[in-house]
Amino acid sequence: MPNKQGVRRGSVRKWAERLRAQFCSPPLGPEALRPFLLLAVLGSLAMTAERLSDFAYPDYFPAPTYNFDANPLSGEKIQLGRRLFYDEILSADGTVSCASCHSPYNAFAHTDHDLSHGIGDQIGTRNAPALFNLAWSTSFHRDGAHHHLDLQALAPISHPAEMGSNIKDVVARLRGDSLYAAGFARAWGDPVITGERVLKSLAQFQLTLVSAGAKYDRVREQKDTFSDQEQKGYALFKTYCNSCHTEPLFTNQGFAKNGLEVDTTLNDFGRIVITTLPADNLLFKIPSLRNLSFTHPYMHDGRFRKLRQVLEHYADRLNDPLPLASNDQADLIAFLLTLDDRAFVFDRRYAFPVEMRSVPER
């Protein structure tokens, strides 16, 4: 069954084939009408393609947890959200955008930065998480501080070491920018800019960031096969990793204590900071294992530069070490690399909106 908001990949393909057939067949009308017919077909093709590709996911994904009824996707809202995502206007001094620490080419993480930097070159305390498959996420941040994608954005906007602003000032700055009045009018029916609309637009763009085009996915769809080493790694994965990093999203959306020593320069105790419950001491959100090639360094504080170091930690930790010999680790990494989704990382729909380059100086 297609989801309310989107369609599964199979249906997208059928639609595309039908449209292609329509587009390629010769126009039937008189010669004079041909350019108009062509335009009409092209127009409908473009519109349909945009609508259909807003939010699609494979059959073997579970149903999303995001409530789309409360924030129905639209192409204009997604584009507005995309623009906001890439605009430094969100930060107090106009230097930092969401994409500063969530770069599309890093699967929306911040490669090569253990901790990210915000306005005034301040350094935070956590590794910026990658952003994808957020429609299935039931909590956000390494400690699960936020439970809803809509409101999550308040945190980076307000954090003094990130964007150092607040949503009220963001709304005021956007109201002072005539380009946004037009964008909000297109997306929301009138040019009124509110906190709710800013947050929901941002959420819409982020919801469209679906990563489901890795080799793993092609194997699931029986369009590719694992190598022997990848297959061995997959078997190890299912034995030792899958209970937390559950396929096909490669996270069970929960929190876990992974045995890392507390970095005393940060003193980050994870989820207990939010819940104050002793049982939550040193629990951190279980991240997805998709796109690891693009999202290094790893762990909540970015302490490991290499995937190998992560596996060595799990093999060597005092509590519940995983019996992974060196060759097992190599096999496991071979499998993990099949979760890289290059199509997602280089998808132009998620990239910097080209039209923003022509924005005049503010």
């Binding site: 924030n71 936020h146 439970h147 409101l151 308040l154 307000s158 607040n166 906190g195 709710e196 819940t275």
Partner: protein, 220 residues
């Protein structure tokens, strides 16, 4: 006659519904609270600089049954803006009521459901940013005994997740009238809270849960 009946019904129902104003009146030092956000007191005396809170599902009841609800499900009340401290409920004529009920705070189901506009818009400064949750009750000011910087006390009572959910049901016995005054007794708050020891509550935990319990007792 067949066509007239609905029109007549409409006419009489409009005529016969009456507006009852719920009027929230914060009291401190035995007098109506005056918000002083000038910073002039500078800790020399106890002043309240900000008092804002949410109410959900305001209703009038008769023997426990709801007879009237507010048009708006959520109200943000701000003691610095008197017009927000008073709002009407429409009660059909001849319908008696003996109880005013509401949830102090944003109900937890709404709080768990994403971004909203109007009184619930995060631009109102009543949504936490470092974590999920509305600030259900905000009280800020200065007092000489408060050891914080600039003698400031800040109570941000909020959060909707167990075990420290801060929404509280409030029920008050009332008599019918054009205006139903509801006193908010801040003297009781400051009697119970020792500002020398407790002056900064900004997270949902057992301390804020205790204060949420106390807040219920302020409404009279």
């Amino acid at each position: 006659m067949k066509h007239l009946l609905p029109i007549l019904c409409l006419f009489f129902s409009t005529l016969s519904a009456q507006e009852v104003f719920i009027d929230f009146q914060p009291v401190m030092g035995g007098k109506a609270l005056v918000i002083d956000d000038t910073g002039a007191a500078a800790g020399a005396e106890k002043v309240v600089e900000a008092m804002r809170f949410y109410l959900s599902d305001v209703a009038l009841r008769s023997e426990g049954q709801v007879v009237s609800t507010s048009d708006k499900r959520h109200h943000l009340l701000d003691a610095a803006q008197p017009e927000t401290m008073r709002f009407p409920l429409s009660v059909p004529a001849g319908v008696a009521y003996d109880e005013l009920s509401f949830t102090l705070g944003v109900d937890s189901l709404t709080a768990a459901s994403g971004a909203f506009g109007g009184d619930l818009d995060p631009t109102n400064g009543m949504y936490w940013t470092w974590r999920s949750g509305y600030i259900n009750f905000k009280l800020e000011g200065t007092a000489p005994e408060c050891p914080a910087r600039k003698n400031r006390f800040q109570f941000h009572v909020g959060g909707f997740q167990g075990p420290f959910n801060s929404e509280r049901a409030v029920s008050l016995g009332v008599s019918p009238g054009k205006t139903i005054p509801v006193k908010i007794d801040l003297d009781r708050f400051f009697d119970q809270i020792n500002l020398a020891a407790t002056y900064q509550i900004m997270s949902p935990d057992d301390r804020s849960a205790t204060i949420a319990d106390l807040l219920v007792e302020l409404f009279r």
